[in-house]
């Protein structure tokens, strides 16, 4: 592994992460360097503004929501374990893990369900466990160009909720969400190779 010089030595604390992260050492090192690079003022934690200065996120339609997902529960500071915890969701899924896993242990963060949960929370802003029609509409609006009229967006949002909603409450719960995506290869879609 290349020993890339960084400004801060990796603190002992950073290595002590809860067992469900399972990020490899090499990746951990790189993530730490990246964390420090993002933390320009050397505070030791990341604020929203640090993440907002990543230019590529500015042109991502979901940039703000992605940043918010790094700050769970409305906190204002993101420390390194938290950073890694979020990114651990995107580790590629190792096929053999499932067989050997002890069923009593908590699911690894990069399991399919957890990945889906992560995506779910991008929609569910008020964290009530359901995607209401309004939330769907908001997400849709973010992702679609300006040419689409409001009526069209509304009907598309309606249709989306209608398709997934099984118990007829006008909102999509997490299980309904997961069911509507059961045919999708989530493991591959939400995996980042370099986090292996």
């Amino acid at each position: 592994m290349a020993a890339v010089p960084s400004r801060h030595p990796l603190p002992r604390r950073a290595w002590i992460l809860s067992p469900d992260e399972e990020v490899s050492q090499a990746s951990l090192r790189r993530l730490y360097d990246r964390f420090n690079a993002l933390d320009r003022t050397g505070k030791g934690y990341l604020s929203r503004m640090d993440l907002q200065q990543i230019g590529a996120l500015a042109v991502n339609p979901l940039g703000d929501r992605i940043i918010d997902s790094f700050f769970p529960d409305g906190s204002l500071r993101l420390d390194f374990p938290g950073f890694v915890r979020v990114l651990a969701h995107f580790r590629p899924v190792d096929e053999e893990d499932d067989g050997n896993r002890d069923p009593k242990e908590p699911e690894p963060l990069n399991s399919r369900m957890n990945k889906l949960r992560f995506a779910f929370q991008l929609y569910d802003l008020d964290r009530d466990g359901k995607i209401s029609r309004h939330e769907m509409l908001q997400a849709l609006r973010l992702m679609v160009g300006v040419q689409v009229t409001e009526e069209q967006l509304e009907s598309i949002a309606d249709r989306t909720v209608q398709e997934a909603d099984e118990d007829g409450d006008g909102a999509v719960s997490f299980l309904e969400f997961a069911k509507s995506l059961e045919k999708m290869n989530i493991e591959q879609k939400m995996s980042i190779r370099i986090l292996k």
Partner: protein, 797 residues
């Protein structure tokens, strides 16, 4: 979907083509007859003149000989351009077959015309013209547009694959063909080993970039992309070097007794030629980067400098018998980074477009020449040779791919899967390079040159058409596991969301470099090279005035084109909401799906899409502009209504950071914008709704002054004779945002440079923070509203 659009255009295009052809053919017919008659007449006239002065001055003569060569060349180029226009008018065709197909067809057409009219084609291609004029632009363009960071990260693999692959292919094909030639039944006994090796070297020159456009949409991963690109880049150079060495061997006349010493000398020469060429290229790259540092006052010659220095590097390398191709490639790669920062925006665009144009012209000419040679009488057909050539090309390419990648996979962090290797194998499409080398074989040394040319042509046609057309479906088949059955709207929406999410998280992770060497180079580059090569004193006045000009123009355009119609952002009126869910007919669902597919924002591509024949930055730039403006607007609106800031420090700040001045330039501290300019505009502010939040972040006077320039031009725009004063004032706020948004968008170059790669992370951000920190805090006021701006200014006044 696209077929409908194709049909009405198709007849027009073909009519146009036919018309042009008729003119071409007719003119050449006419000219042939007239010029012979004209010549006779001329002779007669001269003969007469010698004895006595001419009788009359002819009022109207036709002098075709004088213009023949440029005339025909221009016609050919125009014809190819028309064909390309037609090709791209159809939305689906470019995804089906590579553009080389089209060019070859056009060439064949021209060849048919020339053959049919029994016209002697102008001597466009001989050895010196090809090597001195036609080849450099092609190589320059591919070197310039190469993404440098992935290239250097994968440099080891690329050199291993391209270099060794070319050698392996060349010698493999050559030797196998030699063995075939030994079989007396095929009648090829007079082709000796060296000739076979030479043929092998020229036939192994691949042009895989031509097929990149075909499977671009399949989101090839970056490494694969880079391998293909890198191979294309180095392949030409290596083939030419090999070709020259083997020709030198052939000329030695004693090829029966080639000793190991000669072979060693050949290898040494290979290495020296390659590295020497690259070395010269790097030197010239640095020189030209250095010179562009001083061209701020005469920016019109900046493209000239870029092109001339690249060309000079090529010529100098050729003088010393080094590899000019590698020299020009290295020059382009080296100077690109620095030149892009130094030159003005328009020069940058000019350089890009001119490079594409030159290379496309060269390639067109070569393909047309290929078409002309195809349809002619100088062919020699030998079934055995040609079939075995085809077979061996495929076999040896497969061998080289799988063997070499197997070895290099042991050392790579991200090994190439078998699928990737299949794609690389299948994209071994030959192109103009091999044809040129075959065509330029000296007849004296190669009595069976015609056979070689024919074989080369067959291989090119086969690979371009058959492989080129099927590589798209193959990649899609390999990549997409699921069949293209219709996804539900849910799936489509959610997968797009996930793609965006993944792209965003990848951006948070940043680029990870693998090599310490690269980091060292980056540090060295920042400490020394950039100080020498990048201009550091941008004159404030010209820059500011440039921005003002562009800002105004952009804003005017945007308003006029209705890009930011307010309807798109208004909150949904709840009045017409029907609560019951109605059953939607399938057509409605279909149309919804269509709307979604067409209008959803594309995910940001991490792999730079390279298209050999076209520059297509448009869609992603437009999309990015839209997203940024919307965010700023929605942000501003939500703030206007007195909502608390949803996300702590406003999102607007981050937009500004990358949208304002080119990075790494600290803003001039106090810009001398006259405060007096505000005077006439303060009145208009009274119409704007009052804003309650003057609290917010500390705003130093400097920071306020700093971003006033952005505000001013827009205001002036409104002030200057707008018919709807009231309406404009109402919208003034929005348009000021337009202004800022407009200005923001003006320099897509730094924006996308910042977005794409290279120095995006770490060092770059370190440098810019001091510059932008204050700017950020100035923009920090939510929405950075002009409204707010004027209050302190009013106070100051």
């Amino acid at each position: 979907m696209g077929i409908r659009g194709f049909v009405p255009f198709c007849p027009w295009n073909w009519c146009l083509l036919l018309a042009t052809l008729q003119c071409c053919g007719a003119s050449s017919e006419l000219n042939r007859s007239t010029d012979s008659s004209a010549r006779r007449e001329l002779n007669v006239r001269y003969a007469a003149a010698s004895s006595q002065p001419a009788e009359t001055i002819s009022v109207f003569t036709l002098d075709y000989d004088y213009v023949q060569i440029p005339y025909e060349v221009t016609l050919w180029i125009l014809l190819a351009s028309l064909a390309k226009i037609g090709f791209h008018l159809n939305r689906r065709l470019p995804g089906l077959m590579p553009e080389s197909c089209l060019l070859i067809l056009v060439g064949a057409l021209v060849g048919a015309v020339i053959f049919g009219t029994d016209h002697k084609s102008p001597p466009v291609m001989d050895s010196s013209i090809y090597f001195l004029y036609l080849l450099p632009p092609i190589v320059l363009e591919s070197g310039y547009f190469m993404p440098t960071r992935p290239f250097f990260e994968n440099l080891g693999s690329i050199l291993w694959w391209a270099g060794l692959g070319a050698l392996l292919n060349a010698f493999g094909i050559g030797l196998s063909l030699y063995l075939i030639c030994q079989v007396p039944a095929f009648g090829l006994g007079d082709i000796n080993l060296l000739q076979n090796l030479l043929f092998g070297s020229l036939i192994s020159a691949v042009d895989p970039v031509a097929v990149l456009a075909v499977f671009e949409e399949a989101r090839v991963n970056e490494q694969l992309y880079m391998m293909i690109f890198g191979e294309a880049l180095l392949n030409d150079g290596i083939s030419v070097v090999l070709y020259n060495i083997l020709i030198a061997f052939t000329k030695m006349h004693k090829f029966e007794d080639i000793e190991p010493v000669d072979i060693l000398a050949g290898c040494a020469r290979f290495v020296i030629v390659g590295c020497g060429g690259a070395f010269f290229g790097v030197i010239f790259g640095f020189i030209s980067a250095f010179i562009t540092r001083f061209t701020q006052n005469i920016s019109a010659i900046e493209p000239l400098i870029v092109f001339m220095f690249s060309y000079l590097s090529y010529l100098v390398a050729e003088t010393l018998y080094l590899s000019g191709i590698l020299a020009i490639t290295a020059c382009a790669v080296t100077m690109k980074k620095y030149v892009e920062e130094n030159v003005s925006q328009t020069s940058y665009t000019t350089i890009k477009y001119f490079m594409k144009m030159l290379s496309s012209v060269s390639e067109t000419l070569i393909f047309i020449f290929m078409g002309v040679s195809t349809i002619g009488k100088n062919h020699e057909w030998n079934w055995a040779f040609i079939c075995f050539t085809l077979v061996f090309c495929q076999i040896w390419r497969a061998i080289s791919v799988f063997v070499l990648f197997y070895v290099s996979n042991q050392f790579r962090t991200f090994p190439f899967s078998i699928k990737d290797q299949c794609v690389i194998f299948y994209s071994g499409v030959r192109g103009a390079g091999s044809f040129s080398l075959a065509f330029l074989l000296p007849l004296s040394l190669f009595p069976r040159k015609k056979l070689f040319v024919t074989a080369t042509l067959v291989v090119i046609y086969f690979t371009v058409f058959i492989q080129g057309i099927t590589v798209g479906p193959l990649v899609r088949y390999l990549d997409v596991r699921k069949t293209n059955k219709k996804e539900s709207i849910n799936e489509e929406l959610h997968t797009r969301l996930m793609d965006h999410l993944k792209a965003g998280v990848e951006d948070v992770c940043g680029q990870w470099s693998h090599y310490q060497v690269r980091d060292k180079f980056k540090k060295f580059d920042h400490k020394y090279l950039r100080k020498i090569l990048i201009r550091n004193n941008l004159p404030k006045s010209s820059l500011v005035s440039l921005y003002k000009k562009l800002e105004m123009k952009q804003a005017v355009e945007m308003v006029e084109s209705g890009v930011l119609s307010s309807t798109a952002f208004s909150t949904p009126h709840r009045a017409q909401r029907t609560q019951e869910t109605k059953r939607l007919s399938p057509e409605d669902v279909e149309s919804m799906r269509d709307i979604l597919t067409r209008n959803m924002y594309q995910v940001r591509q991490r792999t730079l899409s390279y298209n050999k024949y076209n520059l297509q930055p448009q869609t992603s730039e437009k999309q990015a502009k839209e997203i940024l403006i919307r965010r700023r607007n929605t942000f501003r609106e939500s703030v206007k209504k007195g909502h608390s800031l949803p996300w702590g420090k406003p999102a607007g700040t981050k937009n500004i950071r990358y949208l304002s001045f080119p990075y790494s330039k600290p803003l001039p501290a106090g810009r001398d914008m006259k405060v007096a300019e505000f005077t006439d505009h303060d009145g208009s502010d009274s119409e704007l709704p009052p804003i309650t939040f003057n609290t917010h972040s500390p705003t130093g006077t400097i920071q306020e002054r700093r971003w006033t320039p952005e505000v001013i031009p827009m205001k002036r725009l409104h002030g200057a004779g707008t018919p709807l004063h009231f309406g404009y004032r109402r919208n003034a706020g929005r348009e000021e945002h337009l202004g800022r948004g407009g200005r923001a968008i003006l320099r897509p170059k730094p924006l996308f440079h910042a977005v794409d790669e290279e120095f995006e992370s770490e060092e770059e951000s370190e440098e810019e923070t001091p510059a932008f920190g204050s700017l950020l805090s100035s923009e920090l006021r939510p929405g950075g509203n002009c409204n707010v701006s004027h209050s302190p200014l009013l106070q100051r006044k």
